[in-house]
């Protein structure tokens, strides 16, 4: 075996070309991590939105809350079902909800308008969804024109501070509290009382009903029982699955873009690496000749140069991780086309993603180094030493 020190020293002796190659690989890795972190963050926000123990009910055939509609009769049937868990005060944990989108102008540029979800909930909703926490202020009071605003909206939209007034649906609403929801899409919503929202929006109709399962393992039974009920025509979803499905379209587009763009860039970077390694080997032919004369086997020369290429790539990979790391936590927003509403979410750079980036770098290095290393191993000693 040729000691690895030899490769490290060779790499250090030509700092400019090493740095440029490593930088190329590093940027590809950074983009790879960055784009997947974006897709990851978006999926995570929606995946966390639904709970495994909650059930979401929509009208049959509706593919989002927006296109659904349920009457009060359905609410009473659901509330009386044995599958519904009850709170300490014996009331069923059911939240019939009004779901609408309203255009709100953004803080930084009032010509930019986003479709924000306004959700009318029952006072049970805070218990049905266990991840909701009031961070500031008090919950809105039943019967008063008050709303609560998700924390992710507060920074980005004007008039969302506690005590300030939001104007929508022809009325003024006082902001009574801010709430967080563990980073989920609920944080991009405005909540108010369902009975107050019904008359100002779409009349006497709910868009969805969410309830807590009595027995978390009995989802299939509940689904069968409710969907077979002849008194109503509904679709029964597990809340977590419903939101995961809502993230599919855009999540897949983002991942697809990430893979295609970084794929093409990776090929370019590999070509660059191949050229750099060929040039490096060509200029070090006498050196390689000496190595072979000293008795090192061609296989060790091959391995040695592969290691050198991988070493440069790892430097690049580490650089890429460093570049991508500051992205973590940066909040961005986009429209989720499945629900047509705007969702804020943050880049999520996970350790797994960083590792994937490093592996990606090593693969680029090894692929890029293979043929040049093969040429080095096959050098004729006599010719190389001339």
């Amino acid at each position: 075996m040729i000691p690895i020190v030899y490769n490290v020293r060779s790499v250090v002796r030509r700092p400019v070309s090493t740095a440029l190659t490593a930088l190329g690989v590093g940027l590809v890795v950074a983009v790879f991590i960055g784009m997947l972190a974006l897709a990851n963050g978006f999926r995570a926000a929606l995946a966390k939105t639904g709970s495994n123990t909650n059930v979401l009910i929509l009208r049959k055939g509706a593919d989002s809350e927006l296109s659904s509609g349920l009457g009060r009769d359905v609410v009473s049937i659901i509330s009386a079902s044995p599958q519904v868990a009850t709170a300490a005060d014996k009331r069923p944990l059911v939240s019939p909800e009004v779901y609408v989108l309203i255009p709100l102008a953004k803080s930084f540029d009032t010509t930019q308008v986003a479709n924000v979800v306004v959700r009318g909930v029952s006072d049970q909703a805070w218990d049905v969804r266990s991840n909701i926490k009031v961070t500031e202020g008090q919950r809105f009071t039943s019967g008063r024109p008050e709303v609560c605003v998700g924390t992710r909206l507060v920074q980005r939209f004007p008039h969302t501070g506690i005590g300030q007034t939001l104007h929508f649906a022809g009325r003024d609403w006082t902001v009574a509290c801010h709430f967080s929801a563990a980073g989920s899409a609920f944080e991009s919503e405005i909540w108010g009382e369902n009975e107050q929202f019904m008359p100002v929006f779409r009349g006497d109709v709910f868009q969805s009903i969410t309830f807590r399962l009595n027995d978390p393992h009995a989802f299939e039974d509940a689904q069968r029982a409710l969907q077979d009920d002849k008194r109503m025509t509904v679709d029964v979803h597990r809340e977590s699955e419903f939101y995961a499905q809502q993230s599919q379209l855009l999540g897949n587009i983002l991942s697809f873009l990430a893979v295609v763009i970084t794929g093409i860039m990776a090929v370019g970077a590999v070509f660059g690496a191949i050229n750099t390694m060929y040039a490096a080997i060509a200029s070090r032919a006498p050196e390689i000749g000496v190595l072979l004369t000293l008795g090192f086997r061609p296989a060790s020369v091959l391995l040695s140069f592969l290691a050198e290429s991988a070493f440069i790539a790892v430097i690049g990979g580490l650089l890429g991780c460093l570049f991508a790391l500051p992205l973590n936590g940066i909040v961005t927003s986009t429209t989720n086309w499945s629900s047509f509403s705007e969702i804020a979410f943050s880049f999520r750079v996970t350790p797994a993603l960083l590792l994937a980036g490093l592996i990606f770098a090593v693969v680029m290095g090894v692929v890029g180094g293979f043929f040049p290393a093969l040429r080095a191993a096959r050098l004729q000693v006599v010719q190389a030493l001339r």
Binding site: G61, A114, R202, G268, T276, T332
Partner: protein, 380 residues
């Protein structure tokens, strides 16, 4: 010209290296063209809209309808020369995995207001006479395997049930922003099936003079200010632009980080080209001894760098220009009218010239200034 063979011979010496270099330039420029086209396409969509068309929506939000009765009152306003209305239907076909837009429109006035929707006169007449008929954008034919005259059944998501339409016509949009993957059917049939609810999702108002747009928009909104459904009227361009901004900064992030890396790859490529030039120190010294002038050698090295950058640019930019129309790419319906614009090609070409200068200048200067004696010392 007589030196052409020398340049070609130099390029052919390390065939693999030349090919790899050209290929990575081509890839980088291909990616550059693709990413920039996403941005320009989104911008072009936002620019769409006849200057003489206004859109009136429910002020409460996009999902709230307006009463159908508003139509006659808008039409009576001064300066309004035409009016049509439409309603989002949101139906899905088959398993619903492939999204496409479909809406109910007041057919006769809609086709009049949108001359961009072009279809043969006999298909147009057939559609206007057929209450349960529909016309579709030409992309939907291959996408779902539909044929002209066929019955297609959509499942309503907002408006329940199975809705069967006869495909009476296939249109070709003259403006790509209209979208060629849309199904349009009769609003009257829609209204009847939903129990004569008398609703319109939005109104399209044609006006006599673009200069009157703000005044007319204001008078429409004023008219309905104190009614049950206040309106919000703006130019069609503003309406379209609001959709483009819905992507937020995601598309911006995607393209900027992408572009940054394109330049990084070019950097690496330039490095490889410079390294290959450095190997030839001795050879250049020999050429000088034989009598090649400094200026000529400078030119030869630059031409070599230029040849590689140029071939890469032609492959990459030309590839993007040819490939996307060939596969009828429209970003899964999100980027209607995706096109590599001339400005993108020009900027790409400038990038290639920049690359040639960056990668060729240093070795070319070195070649020109090389002291012969010193260089030849290394030659055995």
């Amino acid at each position: 010209m007589k030196y052409l063979r020398l340049v070609v011979a130099n390029l052919g010496r390390h065939k693999l290296r030349t090919i790899l270099t050209i290929a990575s330039v081509a890839l980088a420029l291909f990616l550059f063209a693709s990413l920039r086209s996403v941005t320009t396409t989104l911008a072009a969509t936002a620019q769409f809209g006849g200057a003489r068309r206004l859109v009136t929506l429910n002020a409460t939000g996009l999902v709230f309808p307006l009463p159908l009765a508003y139509g006659n009152r808008i039409k009576a306003l001064r300066g309004v020369t035409g009016l049509s209305w439409a309603n989002w239907f949101g139906g899905k076909y088959g398993d619903g995995k492939r999204f496409f837009a479909n809406f109910a429109v007041d057919a006769e006035s809609y086709l009049k207001i949108y001359p961009e929707i072009v279809l043969p006169p006999e298909q147009r007449d057939a559609f206007l006479k057929d209450r349960t008929g529909a016309i579709i954008g030409k992309r939907l034919l291959p996408q779902f395997g539909w044929k002209l005259g066929q019955n297609v059944t959509l499942q309503g998501t907002i408006f329940q049930g199975d809705w069967t339409f006869t495909v009476d016509g296939v249109y070709t949009p003259t403006d790509p922003a209209i979208g060629d993957d849309v199904l349009i059917f009769h609003h009257d049939y829609f209204d009847e099936r939903i129990g004569r609810a008398g609703i319109a999702g939005w109104y399209i108002v044609e006006i006599d003079d673009p200069a009157h747009a703000p005044a007319i928009a204001k008078s429409i909104d004023d008219m309905f200010r104190n009614s049950s459904s206040p309106t919000k009227t703006g130019t069609e361009r503003e309406f379209q632009a609001s959709f483009a901004t819905m992507w937020g900064n995601v598309s911006f992030l995607m393209s900027t980080i992408g572009l940054a890396v394109v330049f990084a790859i070019l950097l690496v490529t330039a490095n490889a080209m410079m390294m290959s030039a450095r190997e030839r120190t001795a050879e250049i010294a020999v050429l000088k001894t034989v009598g090649f002038s400094d200026r000529l050698l400078f030119g030869l090295v630059m031409v070599e760098a230029g040849a590689m950058a140029l071939s890469g640019a032609v492959l990459g930019l030309g590839g993007a220009k040819v490939l996307y129309p060939a596969i009828k790419f429209n970003g899964m319906g999100f980027l209607p009218g995706f096109a590599v614009t001339t400005s993108t090609l020009i900027i790409g070409a400038l990038v290639a010239v920049g690359l040639m200068l960056a990668s060729g200048l240093v070795p070319a200067l070195r070649a020109a200034r090389l002291p012969v004696v010193q260089a030849l010392r290394h030659v055995e």
